[in-house]
Structure formats: C-alpha cells, structure tokens
Amino acid sequence: MTEKFSDPNLDPQEEDKIIGAFVRRQAREKLRERWAGVLEKDFGVQRTPSKKKGVVLFDRTTKIRRVILGVVAAAAVALILIFAVPRLTAPNLNTLTAELMLEPPVSSFRSGAVVTTIDSLRDLAASLVAGKNFGEAVKTMRLATVESEVTSPDRLYHGYVELNAGNESAAAQIFREIMNNDPLYRTHATFYLALSLLRSGNDGEGKELLRSIRKEDGKKFFDKAARLLKAR
C-alpha cells in the first residue's frame, strides 16, 4: 500500500482514501489514550483486564479467604478510627475550603482557532488569576459575562473569581443560577456553591450540597466534597 501511495500519479481520490484512513486511525488511537487517562483521573473508571480461565477454583478459595480477612481488618480499623482516634487529626475546614476554592472550576473555555473579544477577556482574566489579582479578574469577568457568546464555563469562572475576591454572596448567586439551569455543569456549580456557603458561614446548606454530590457525578468533585465533609 505504501508503494501505491508513493506513486506520484496516484489518483487524488485514492490518495485521500489512504491518508484519510491513516489519519483517522492515528487520531482515534490518540483520543483513546487521552480519554483513558481522563476517565481514570476524573471519573475513577479503569480498564480492568479479566482473569484467565483455568485458575478459577484456586482463585475462588483465595478470594473468599481474602474477603473474610479484608472484612475483619476493615472492621478493626473502623473501630479504631471511631473510638481511638478523635477528630483531632481531621483537617481544619477553613483551611481546606481556602485551598480548594483556589482550584478553578474549568480548565479550558476558549472558543478555538479564531480569537474573539470574549477570548481576550478570558485570557486577561486567566493571567490576572495567575498573578492572584482576583479583584481585577472580577472586573474582567463581569465584562466577559455580558458578551453574547458567554458560556456556562465563563459564568463558573466568574463565580470562582468573585469567590476568591471575597465576594461570597455574589459568587453564590452565580453558582446557584448555573446549578438550577444548566444540567451539564450542575456538579461544578453545586460544589462551588457549597464552598461559597461554607466561606460565608452557612455550613448547614453548604454541607447538604456537598452530600448531594454522588460518585457518578464525577470522582473529582465527589472526592473533594468527601474531604470537606470530613473536615471540622
């Protein structure tokens, strides 16, 4: 087939067929690898190779033994954790919320190849955030969110900079609106709304929102919510 491709007189349609098949194959392999990484990191989904046949009997006995030992060990650890180790070792809630609210809700929200006004504002906001200048970032994102091409990621980012600039009520309002109106970003918005409420002293509603985040909604936010719920 490469001899065919090397022919300078090859029909253009044939040429396109060969290149197309190859490029698509490359792109699929690259995406497969990338998505496997995203699935593992963000959703806790892994490809688990299945066991070979022929060792089932041995495996079953060992498995049962391991399960029993595991249950006993887990029970022992649970008892120790409940009675012997009080919540002195739990992280401080204030410190943890301050740490988690610094992580932006979305990593990328550019339009793509063509640079638009809103793209320039997004870039400016990102560079202000990098310099921890949340006050100016707030002004920038307030301008961005009145543009016609504004997206939910933009609004999330706006809420994020308001929160880090100390404007918890404004942030909460933004996140609540996204949570109630955009199912696609509901989990992001729920988590950041919870952070905003915790920061403003509304622990009750904040923790309730954290508890509402399920593992199926995304491992990343589920794990962060779990950490916050353990903090004191």
Binding site: S6, L31, F43, V45, S111, P183
Partner: protein
C-alpha cells in the same frame, strides 16, 4: 432537566449546536465534559445486558464513543435521542468485537453507516507512522482537520482568515511532504 435534555445527556439543543461548533474548531472540551461522565453507565449496561466481562465492555464502549465523536463531527448525528443512539452503537461495537452478525433490530436506531476505510497493512502502517512523526506540526494539524474532524476546506479557510485555494495548496504540499518523508524512510 427536561425530558429532551435527559435523552441528550443533559444537553439543550443550543448546547448541542455549540458542541458541534467546537468540534469543528478542533476543540474537544465540551464533548469530553458532556459525554465521558456517562462512560461507566454505558459500560455497565453492556456488562448487564450482554453478560460480557468488564474489559470487553470497556473496549466496546470506548469504540462507540470514538465513533460517536466522529459521526458528530461529520454531521451524521442530530439532536434527539443521543443516549439511545450511543447505547445502541455500543452494542454494535460489542458485537463487532465478538465477531457476531449485526442485530437487525438495531437498524431502527438509525445508526449511521460506518466509514468505509481503506485496509492498512501492518508494514505500511509502520512506514506511514514514521512518515507522520517526521511531518511538521502545521501539516499534521491541517490533515487532522480535513480527514478526522472532516472540516470542509472552505470552513478551515474562514477559521484561519485565509483563502480556500491557499488551504487547498497547503494540503497538497503536506501530502507531498509526507510522500517525501516516507520515501526517505523506506
């Protein structure tokens, strides 16, 4: 969430249009955000319905998601009942991996016909891969836009602020380069 959004992975029709626009610009962000969170549901569905092992269900689900992404990019899938369609595609991919015949009942799901692909032999594939690796990034990007993202050249020209003839000439140069690079590696 409305019933319509629920059938379409939480996407409103407007969000779906935006997703397609982003895919045409080579931006996978919204696609990954909207769809990958449903990967394990799809995989679990295959395990349950067809009694297959986890790794096979994973691979078939991944095949389906990759095909789904391509069909979206090519405009072969419209807003309506994306969830049902993707699930059916996953079963089709599973049957393909199992070497089974396609189930006739799936025709009603209006699954797009798979792309007719040129068969690439292993040895040819290695040479092409080596040639591709030596090709510059600009050419790789352009060829991916044309052949994978299936973005029409007139649209690529518009995105990049160039004339269509310039994009066409660049494509020809890139193909010549790939030929040249492969001739050097052969």
């Amino acid at each position: 969430m409305t019933n319509s959004e629920s059938k379409n992975f939480g996407l409103s029709e407007e969000q779906f249009s935006r997703l397609l626009e982003q895919l045409h610009q080579g931006d996978e962000t919204l696609f990954e955000h909207a769809f990958l969170q449903h990967f394990s549901d799809c995989r679990n569905y295959l395990e349950r319905e067809d009694g297959v092992k986890e790794d096979l269900a994973y691979d078939a689900t991944m095949d389906a998601f990759l095909a789904f992404r391509e069909y979206l990019g090519r405009g072969k899938i419209g807003y309506g009942n994306l969830r049902f369609l993707l699930t059916r595609m996953a079963r089709q991919c599973l049957y393909k991996r199992l070497g089974k015949e396609r189930d006739v009942s799936m025709e009603s799901a209006q699954i797009p016909e798979p792309l007719a692909e040129e068969e690439l032999e292993e040895s040819s594939l290695e040479t092409l891969q080596e040639g591709w690796r030596l090709l510059d990034q600009k050419c790789q990007r352009l060829l991916r836009k044309i052949f994978y993202a299936a973005i029409p050249m007139v649209q690529i020209a518009r995105q990049e602020g160039r004339k269509e003839t310039a994009v066409r000439k660049q494509k020809e140069r890139c193909v010549q380069k790939l030929r040249g690079v492969m001739a050097g590696t052969n």
